[in-house]
């Protein structure tokens, strides 16, 4: 039993890293094709990772290393709570409430690590990252509350199973508004345009990443890949009915990602105060209305 659990943990961690990196490669290729370029090969993120691990890296102190590991670990732990097709290594414990708490660890780790570098651009990037998290957490909390109220459970596995029996949450009438709200905050969770102001290479020299080189950049990219996977996986599991097996789940993940990628390729980015204003106005309003609808219909 323990061996099965360890194998599941390894499998899910490895596969989510691979899926995340593949999605980054796909994103670069799709952006290129939309810009009428040929674009890099799909394997480009993997090539980059190999290169970064073969480089020397400059560390700026103990917290610089520890924060990076802290952040990566936080993302990996969140991944273990998310069902991957039929597989969910930590299915019995906590569910959505734990995910909500753990999702904040990754930005905090990056903040610790980048703060240690004492680069002003890194500080600006970190402050933007935390402000953005502040922006979308409100809507995310209300969306998860409405889901938990509707299905009367906090377990994400139970929600997926309920959807397999009764159809996707996104097409169930009381949850449509919450689904729309989640669609609106999704780019902010994944850190893509129009909410890409965290990295913004043209204005703040790639923000928190400014002092990362070599293996630190490799770990930061892995963390980014996991972050993309977490945002998409939450959406697919909560609103698109998860997947009865891994293949079905991955196809849904891919399709959802491609929709957001089209937006990413053609949109400019908001300034941070515009982003927070936007997030606190429209998705939060929709999520609130959704919560009320669910509360009225279930009581």
């Amino acid at each position: 039993m323990v061996i099965v659990l360890v194998l599941q943990i390894l499998f899910v961690t490895l596969l989510s890293c691979l899926v995340g990196l593949f999605l980054i490669g796909l994103s670069r290729k799709m952006t290129a094709r939309i810009h009428w370029r040929y674009g890099p090969p799909l394997s480009q993120p993997f090539i980059d990772i190999v290169k970064w691990f073969s480089q020397t890296a400059v560390s700026h102190g103990k917290l610089f290393d520890a924060g990076m590991i802290f952040s990566l670990t936080g993302s990996v732990v969140v991944v273990l709570f998310l069902p991957f097709g039929g597989i969910c290594p930590l299915r019995g414990s906590g569910g959505l409430l734990v995910i909500l708490y753990l999702m904040l660890i990754a930005p905090l780790g990056i903040a610790l690590s980048a703060g240690e570098a004492a680069n002003p651009y890194a500080s600006i990037g970190v402050s933007r990252k935390l402000q953005l998290a502040f922006g979308y957490e409100l809507s995310l909390l209300m969306i998860l509350l409405s889901l938990m109220t509707y299905y009367r459970t906090v377990s994400i596995v139970d929600i997926v199973e309920a959807q397999i029996q009764s159809g996707w949450s996104l097409v169930q009438l009381p949850l449509v508004v919450s689904g729309l709200a989640y669609l609106l905050i999704m780019p902010a969770i994944m850190g893509i345009r129009p909410f890409e102001m965290i990295q913004a290479p043209q204005e703040i020299s790639s923000g928190p990443m400014a002092e990362y080189g070599g293996k630190f950049l490799a770990f930061a990219t892995l963390q980014h890949a996991l972050n993309i996977y977490i945002g998409l996986s939450l959406f697919v599991n909560l609103f698109l009915g998860g997947g009865s097996n891994a293949g079905y789940f991955l196809i849904k993940l891919l399709l959802a990602f491609m929709v957001f990628q089209v937006i990413h390729a053609v949109w400019p980015r908001f300034r941070i105060e515009q982003a927070v204003r936007c997030l606190w106005r429209w998705p939060a309003l929709l999520a609130f209305i959704g919560l009320i609808i669910v509360w009225v219909t279930t009581s």
Binding site: Q44, K51, S205
Partner: protein, 194 residues
């Protein structure tokens, strides 16, 4: 291009990674920079070779010196070069970094860039076309393959000499030396000079 040659990837992953993921750093100085935007965007699309621009020296391994180098720029070129993680490659762009070009008698432009930082390759011309950048990249691949793109090792080995050349132009440098300087050697040279 042997990007899909799996055997080579297992044989020397480091070299192959360096070859096909050249992250370029450049200053927007000199006239050569005007050739970079078409190179990295839709018209010539450098990304298909794995060459993308990055924002900070820490993330870069290819340094493009686009055009003439004034004394003021040289200070920041050296600082950026020293911040880049090894292995790192430098390419001089246009005729100005090679021998001064049309600034051969300018009072505040340096004439030979490779006196101050090691340069792995040059792109001749005034201006070089964006295609020339790709020719340079493919040449750089060949050099990396043969183990000849060793500018960063030369910088380590002859750091004392490079540092002395830098100090000759910039006066006293406000940052500490990157590698150890051979003090004794320095003193003996002074004695000989006296």
């Amino acid at each position: 291009m042997d990007r899909n040659n799996i055997g080579k990837w297992f044989k020397s992953p480091g070299n192959m990674g360096q070859k096909y993921s050249l992250h370029a750093l450049y200053f927007c100085t000199g006239c050569g920079i005007i050739e970079i935007p078409p190179t990295i965007t839709t018209r010539w699309d450098a990304e298909r070779f794995g060459v993308i621009p990055v924002a900070t020296p820490r993330q870069a391994n290819l340094f493009l010196i686009t055009g003439y180098v004034s004394v003021k720029t040289l200070r920041y070129i050296i600082r950026s070069y020293e911040q880049m993680p090894e292995p790192k490659y430098t390419v001089g762009f246009g005729s100005c970094p090679i021998n001064g070009g049309m600034y051969w008698d300018s009072y505040n432009t340096i004439k030979h860039l490779d006196k101050y930082i090691p340069v792995d390759g040059w792109i001749a011309g005034c201006m070089p076309r964006p295609e020339a950048v790709f020719v340079a990249v493919t040449h750089l691949w060949t050099l990396i393959d043969k183990g000849m793109a060793t500018g960063y090792l030369k910088y380590r080995e002859h750091y004392t000499k490079y540092r002395r050349n830098q100090e000759k132009v910039l006066g006293k440098l406000e940052w500490p030396p990157l590698f150890s300087i051979e003090e004794e050697n320095e003193k003996s040279r002074e004695k000989v000079a006296v």
